[in-house]
């Protein structure tokens, strides 16, 4: 068996793969946070809970309605995104004139409610979800074994991330969005319905979180608290990347996933904390974040 730096290549590539998977989720979630923050100026603490809702929605669709993974991939983001729209229309819109901190606290409260309700009815142990038939098995790449489903998660989340980037940076709809981020009053004066755009943007960001949840369901068990600790890591990712740039969020997500994977190989004790340590170092050197601009 070959080795690199005294580490078997199997283990090294295995951890790098796990790192890329985690990175996919970090990227999708921090992307959603960045999109929401850009327009609403709210840090969506409920993002982790909505990711969990996506996974639960997938489980419900299979076990209650008999709809499989591919249906969930399309339906779960829409369903969970719709709950996001309701939240925005009933609660969040009241907070736009207040300090940003209130949005943070409100969504924290929502996260507690959502996670508490699911925990009350489904307990803390996870529910299993099978890998879809078409993606079972894997490829032997010679230096490592690559399960098909994991390859799919990485490729699909890359596609979604880049698609979102393209939509925001290169299309007309995206230009409205960026303009409204800069100056909502002026965009409204040009006849764009900004409040509706804000609502849909929140729904879209929540939908991204739910999509990540759908992809996570076959890998991790479907668990009411699956998003609770994850969201804190994603906050650190967002601080490291800075929320100014969409591409920055995506890149930071994947890179930090890899960093975490490498840490698991070389110094496993620090694998839980390495992202927070990177955050502290980045803050000391470049407080605005790697891709951010200080406002």
């Amino acid at each position: 068996m070959s080795e690199i730096f005294g580490i078997p290549t199997q283990a090294l590539f295995g951890q790098l793969l796990i790192g890329l998977i985690n990175g996919s989720f970090y990227a999708l979630l921090s992307l959603g946070l960045a999109v929401i923050f850009g327009l609403l100026n709210i840090i969506n603490f409920a993002h982790g809970a909505q990711y969990m809702m996506g996974a639960f929605c997938t489980w419900f669709l299979l076990n209650k309605l008999g709809l499989g993974y591919w249906w969930s991939l399309a339906l779960a983001p829409v369903i969970v995104g719709a709950t996001g729209v309701v939240i925005e229309r009933t609660m969040l819109f009241r907070l736009y004139k207040l300090d940003h901190l209130y949005g943070f606290l409100l969504t924290f409260g929502l996260a507690l409610i959502i996670q508490g309700l699911f925990r009350q009815y489904y307990g803390s142990s996870g529910l299993p979800y099978p890998i879809p038939k078409a993606l079972q098995g894997g490829q032997n790449l010679g230096f490592m074994f690559l399960p098909n489903y994991r390859a799919w998660v990485i490729v699909f989340s890359l596609v979604i991330c880049l698609g979102t980037w393209f939509m925001i940076e290169k299309t007309k709809l995206g230009s409205y969005l960026r303009a409204a981020t800069e100056n909502p009053q002026l965009v409204q004066a040009f006849g764009v319905n900004v409040p509706r755009m804000v609502t849909l943007t929140y729904g879209f960001g929540v939908g991204l979180a739910a999509l990540a949840g759908v992809m996570a369901a076959p890998i991790y068990s479907v668990n009411p608290l699956m998003g609770a600790d994850l969201i804190i890591v994603v906050f650190a990712v967002v601080v490291i990347g800075g929320m100014g740039s969409i591409m920055g969020s995506i890149l930071t997500g994947f890179i930090l996933g890899l960093v975490e994977g490498l840490t698991k190989v070389f110094y496993p004790e620090a694998s839980n904390t390495v992202i927070f340590i990177v955050m502290a170092i980045v803050l000391m050197i470049k407080p605005a974040g790697l891709f951010g601009t200080q406002k």
Binding site: F108, G109, I232, A236, M279
Partner: protein, 319 residues
């Protein structure tokens, strides 16, 4: 003339607050006859914790979402020094407070590099790092926590195994901490903090080194949270992971919000209300979390002044 007027105004304010202060003293002095004393001691520990937290959020406008790290770490250090090193309780509490101060200095230096909402995310992330440290470090005993912490003899001769002595000790430390926070808020230093809260750029332009003021306030708040955490560990004879977890950071935000942000007495009332609610719902499992969430949502949407804030607004006097 100006000075005399201001002085008279201050005394008017002070009279109102003095009445409230006496009410609070009488409550905590008389309540053990009707309410379970251990619960009251918990309330006083958390009231001090919330007062320390409010010093930061209510008077500097900094939302720290990681205050559990100070409470929890100080609890561990106090429990360890009391149990393994055999320190007397007052020294164990001091050791806990000192560890929280050092932790506050380090995390403060990192966190104040960003403002606003980023500050909250950074403190939350740092606290999560401390949590993982506490899960892995050998001296915290991981999931078990440090159990059977001896309460010991205060100053070497007052036995804190005696319920009354313990209650009085917690009472005295709580009141001293409360008065210290009051003093900080009403000092020239506290005025600068409020100026930073209102308009940081303006305070900078007036020549104040705002980062330094923020850091000092952060360390003070961390230290007092440490005192609360150390005392809590001695009262319950236990230092465990739940005190370092992010849910604890959320809880202290909730207490402050319910009682009234930026009010002197709000955090005390908030701690009492939130802990009473938890005590009442304790058998119902996840419902505690759900009710906490609902209170968060309701407070943010319709009740942003909190209990004491509404009362002060009604009386038109700061409380």
């Amino acid at each position: 003339m100006q000075v005399a007027k201001a002085g008279a105004g201050n005394r008017m304010v002070a009279r109102h607050q003095r009445v409230a202060f006496v009410v609070m003293l009488v409550f905590f002095a008389a309540a053990p006859t009707v309410i379970y004393p251990v619960f009251l001691m918990k309330v006083m520990c958390f009231a001090l914790f919330a007062c320390a937290f409010n010093l930061l959020l209510g008077y500097v406008g900094l939302l720290s979402f990681g205050h559990a790290m100070f409470l929890g770490m100080a609890g561990y250090v106090a429990a360890h020094t009391a149990k393994v090193w055999g320190l007397t309780p007052e020294l164990a509490i001091l050791a806990g407070a000192a560890s929280a101060a050092v932790l506050g200095l380090v995390s403060g230096l990192i966190a104040i590099r960003r403002q606003g909402i980023y500050f909250a995310m950074i403190t939350l992330a740092l606290a999560q790092m401390v949590y993982f440290f506490c899960v892995q470090a050998p001296f915290t005993h991981g999931e078990d926590g440090i159990q059977a912490v001896p309460r010991g003899h205060l100053f070497g001769f007052i036995d804190l195994g005696n319920r009354t002595a313990l209650y009085l000790t917690v009472f005295v430390v709580f009141v001293a901490g409360f008065l210290l926070v009051y003093r900080i808020i009403h000092s020239p230093f506290g005025q600068v903090l409020k100026a930073i809260r209102e308009n940081e750029a303006r305070a900078t332009s007036l020549g104040y080194d705002t980062d330094r003021y923020k850091l000092i306030a952060f360390v003070l708040s961390a230290t007092l949270s440490g005192v609360a955490g150390a005392m809590n560990a001695l009262v319950f004879q236990l230092a465990a992971l739940n005190a370092v977890h992010w849910t604890m950071s959320g809880e202290v935000v909730l207490m402050t919000l319910v009682g009234g942000l930026g009010t002197v007495f709000g955090p005390v009332v908030g701690a009492l209300v939130v802990l009473a609610m938890e005590n009442y719902l304790a058998q119902l499992g996840a419902w505690v979390t759900i009710v906490q969430g609902v209170i968060f949502v309701v407070c943010v949407l319709t009740f942003r002044r909190g209990i004491i804030g509404e009362l002060a607004n009604f009386l038109r006097k700061p409380l």
